[in-house]
């Protein structure tokens, strides 16, 4: 029987929540990583290693790793640097692992990789090539501490094929391991003037259907969007949702048409509309939406969900997990129909991932 392990990256370290396949009773362990702020923690099935991207205000950026499900931890920042020059590394955030490599998105914008299980890192790309890059990547034009690569999405079949999100700029796709990039923002909406038609789009979270690598979804600063052609073009699917703003979203593991998102008030609040918590699900690729709230608080629940705050597991009846910026972790074991609060008092949650591990 497999063990279900939910990995929460929080502002005060990483936590592990463990259950069996039934996912009814949960044990919480942590905090790990010396309680450093964790921006994204993942599980790499190939090696059975947990990786946690961290940035300490005192000691800088690092990636922690555990090969024994949190019993012991090591950290390394060897190679996590832009060296001498105008680019400064303030933090690492989005992690992804596939094809024997671990990628870490960085702020200021760049992508680092490790080929030795996180022991050492090297700079893979600073997303060169776009004609407007000198302008948007100029430190003088960046809000301090805000422009970075929060996520990298690796293609499951091709190690040289991956997508990088640059905050407030958009999606960049490479099929030659970062030598060249194409923007993949066609059809996206921007409610602000664009200096260049290809860039200036605020992609919060990009996911790929495990069933179809051409089927992508994204939750954007303005709108929820779907692509049926691997990101070449985008179709807005916001209609039926209460707002067009949100961060976290997740693809269904078995059904290419089912997708989950959490939309928020888009002003200063960025919390659940009307203080009533809900996850939204489409089963027809965005044609219609269902509000899922059974078991979620429906009164005075001003919850925020950040971009990495939602995940799905791969069991036949898939689990869906949502972590809040006020430290609650909710789980559904029936595809989102009903929810249980499996942790109530964690530090503010930045990321949620889930792994199925042989017990």
């Amino acid at each position: 029987m497999a063990k279900t392990v939910v990995i929460a990256g929080t502002r005060k370290g990483a936590f592990l929540l463990e259950s069996d396949e039934a996912r009814r009773d949960w044990q919480v362990r942590g905090p790990f990583c010396e309680s450093w702020p964790i921006y994204h923690a993942i599980y790499a099935p190939e090696s059975g290693t947990i990786y946690a991207a961290a940035a300490s205000e005192w000691h800088g950026a690092s990636v922690w790793r555990s090969t024994d499900l949190g019993e012991t931890w090591q950290q390394s920042s060897e190679g996590l640097t832009y060296g001498e020059g105008p680019l400064k590394l303030s933090k690492v955030s989005g992690l992804t692992a596939a094809n024997g490599r671990i990628f870490a998105g960085a702020e200021m914008p760049g992508v680092f990789e490790s080929r030795d299980g996180g022991a050492t890192w090297s700079l893979l790309s600073t997303i060169e090539g776009h004609p407007d890059r000198p302008k948007w990547n100029d430190p003088e034009n960046q809000p301090p501490g805000h422009l970075g690569v929060p996520a990298v999405l690796q293609h499951p079949d091709d190690p040289t094929h991956w997508f990088a999100i640059v905050q407030g700029i958009g999606i960049f796709e490479t099929t030659d391991d970062g030598a060249t990039f194409a923007t993949r923002n066609q059809g996206l909406r921007a409610d602000w003037p664009l200096e260049h038609p290809d860039v200036g789009f605020c992609v919060h979270k990009l996911v790929m259907s495990p069933q179809d690598s051409n089927r992508l979804f994204q939750q954007n600063h303005v709108g929820t969007h779907r692509s049926d052609d691997g990101g070449q073009t985008w179709i807005e699917i916001t209609e039926g949702l209460p707002t067009d703003f949100g961060f976290a979203c997740a693809a269904h593991p078995h059904d290419r048409d089912t997708f989950f998102t959490t939309v928020l008030d888009g002003g200063h609040g960025r919390t659940m509309p009307d203080g009533k918590a809900a996850v939204w699900r489409t089963r027809d690729a965005g044609g219609t939406w269902e509000r899922l709230s059974d078991g979620l608080p429906q009164r005075d629940a001003y919850l925020g969900i950040l971009r990495e705050g939602m995940a799905t597991d791969t069991l036949d009846e898939p689990g869906v997990y949502v972590g809040t910026s006020t430290g609650q972790l909710f789980a559904s074991t029936d595809g989102g129909d009903s929810w249980t609060e499996i942790a109530s008092y964690l530090p503010p949650i930045n990321s949620v991932e889930v792994a199925l591990v042989d017990a």
Binding site: W58, S77, E78
Partner: protein, 87 residues
């Protein structure tokens, strides 16, 4: 030998690193290099390319705020402090 005192956040990252040790160095920069030689990457935890001290790392030599080029005398006391920040 200078009397060097380190913050409690560092030893968990570097096995064998004590909170307090004695080193024969001439400047703060040399101190960080000496620590890094024995505990690789420790330099990066306290300074950034430039090189410059990290914004929230403060070093005091005999009670005075120091920079990388500040001199350390043989009997100096050196305190490495994490800034009083965070919540």
């Amino acid at each position: 030998m200078a009397d060097v005192r380190l913050p409690p956040t560092l030893p968990p990252l570097f096995p064998g690193l004590p909170r307090r040790l004695e080193l024969e160095v001439a400047t703060v920069g040399e101190l960080l290099d000496a620590l890094d030689a024995q505990w690789p990457v420790l330099l990066y935890r306290l300074s950034e390319p430039g090189p410059t001290l990290r914004r929230h790392i403060h070093i005091f030599v005999n009670g005075d705020r120091a920079e990388l080029d500040t001199a350390i005398e043989p009997r100096s006391r050196v305190d490495v402090i994490t800034a009083i920040s965070g919540g």
